[in-house]
Symmetry: none
Subunit: 214 residues, 4 copies
């Protein structure tokens, strides 16, 4: 850890200011939405001057897009780790799905600001930003579809006539549950989930495979 506190001559610290700006912006976007967040507030929160923002970013919109794209990559990574290698029993499958969802929910809870922007506030932004957000959920659905197709391939799920529709419904379920679990009925960034990630994941996985009657 030596040298960590020596600020003036740091080497790899390159984008420290940038990081602070990103974090500040993401928090504000998540809380107040894109349009209700002023650059002046972002820079104040990050402790830098107005001009500095424009040294690191081309503008408000471009910054938001960067934020979203960065989030997308990290999110997809989580889901792709659920990719199945071998076949197993139904219970295996439920457990496996629950594990994937647990990872997803934990990631989401550790990145609440990001998720709030992606799930809720992003749609209030400008067209380009909205597109970027939409692409996140397309990528998200793709990743899930890959998993479902793999499960069918391994004979663990029946050959649906319309896989896309099922995946569609499945993803709707997951994002719906995720949003409510994370932010509650009022979509409050400061809401504290009442269930653990594992609990809500297990319930969701059970529902996923067996429905209300299961």
């Amino acid at each position: 850890m030596k040298g960590v506190l020596i600020l003036p001559s740091q080497t790899n610290e390159e984008p420290q200011r940038e990081q602070e700006l990103r974090q500040a912006a993401l928090e504000l976007f998540a809380r107040k939405g894109y349009h209700n967040t002023k650059i002046s507030e972002v820079v104040k929160a990050a402790g830098v001057s107005q001009g500095t923002f424009y040294w690191y970013f081309d503008g408000k919109e471009q910054m938001a897009i960067r934020l979203v794209e960065n989030g997308r990559d990290r999110l997809v990574e989580v889901i792709e780790q659920g990719y199945r290698k071998h076949a197993g029993s139904v219970d295996d499958m439920v457990n496996s799905s629950a594990n994937l969802l647990t990872n997803l929910f934990e990631f989401a809870n550790e990145n609440r600001n990001l998720m709030a922007f992606l799930l809720i506030k992003g749609q209030g932004a400008d067209p380009k930003v909205r597109s970027a957000v939409s692409e996140v959920w397309i990528a998200f659905e793709e990743a899930f579809k890959k998993n479902v197709l793999r499960a069918i391939e391994l004979g663990m799920l029946p050959q649906f006539t319309d896989v896309s529709l099922r995946v569609n419904i499945l993803v709707s379920l997951i994002t719906g549950v995720l949003t409510k679990w994370l932010f509650g009925p009022l979509h409050d960034v400061d809401y504290e989930p009442v269930y653990t990630a594992a609990q809500i994941a297990e319930e969701t996985a059970r529902f996923e495979f067996r429905g209300l009657l299961g």
Copy 2:
């Protein structure tokens, strides 16, 4: 007093201009979001002058809230018509649920602008509008909860230990499916649903009760 109530050749003419303004605003809010919609655009679309807007509404925010509250009432009305009177078989229940969802989905498809604002764009608005939108979904969930409790009472659904959680997940599923069905992956107001309301309702109802494995 004869003749006093005979208005000059109109029946329930109400404030026609107000209706036009509401519609224009809702369409623009749905398409471009709250902040990207200018009053100047709304009045242009409605074919009235800027000042006229302020004759009928106190301001942009208040108008949006009125729009949301009006939508909430109509939406809840649809769901409450699904209230069950007698017990029946499981298939009855699935059918019944599918019917309710069909009604809901049809209503939604006939009020795409309203739904786009409630489901997607509303969260980009100002705090008071956001609150109003959140309240819509709370009311929505309440209405569903009433239906589920009734089904449990009639012995058609098991006594869940945590009804709220189940309803929560159920509502998440429904709004998730609804959003995707109506607006597609890109949240496009002009997206044309690929399934009919009845089809998606049936699939959703099946999933609701039996999950992926059903």
Copy 3:
């Protein structure tokens, strides 16, 4: 009193609506100033419609001017009644002046809204209205000057080298005292004078002739 309540066929009631509008406007002008008073408020206070205002008056400005000119005539009338016919002792003169001031102060107190507009709020209006207000005070000063010249003529006051200056100072004193007495330090229309008109008139008259040392 017979017939008084038969409204539809009244004859000399001509400007009833106009009177109500004048009164309402004067009160609002006095309280809130010219620019902070909206025609919509005036008509609401008078219980008529917006259009009616424009049937009786050419516009806001013209109405204010009419109000001011009407007030001027009544105000000057009061002062001119102080015109002296015969010579008398110094005490006569002080008493006589006190009587005139008493009349003035009583008139002012009975027409608080008018005086508030003339003394205080009128200067915040538009140029033409301001001119009309200024002319009131010029007429006021003229009327006083006439009285002073008459007193000099009768040998009751010395031949000042500069009568205008003295009258000027005298009028400054009177309007200054009047304003404070009527509306208090905060220029509040609802202020209640702590002295009676006669008391403040006597004090002022004494000061007028003898100053602080008198």
Copy 4:
């Protein structure tokens, strides 16, 4: 710390733009009144852009209040310098009062815009601004009262039964004379006083102590 205080070739440069804006605003307020002065005119007169105004001030109202409060402090300072230390003859007192008034009148004439706003136009502004203006004259009267009480203490003036009333009348006299002297009968900012500050002060002081008969 050497060198830290050496600013790049300026001495007390403060916010120069702010000064220009203040001056421009005060002049326009004085001439046209608060409501007839547009921010667009102020910034044009100051030679800056519209946005710059809002960099230095929170808004029109807040700026007007600042203007008034600043003026109040300077005005009171002038009067408090008249505070009497030793007793003296009646003539001393008249002279002393004339001196104080001369200072006051000179200050007023050097700050015609400020005085026009405080004496005349301020009452046409919005409530908060009006309050600020009223407070100026309350402070003004307080300062005079202190002087009068001191004179009584020194035995130079009799023990009035009601000092407040006398001071009230005195201040009414002074502000009345001041207004007329500065702005003439038409309350014209460009009016040129026909007497010097010393002349009008002397006349006023004589009137103050001896009245018309003096």
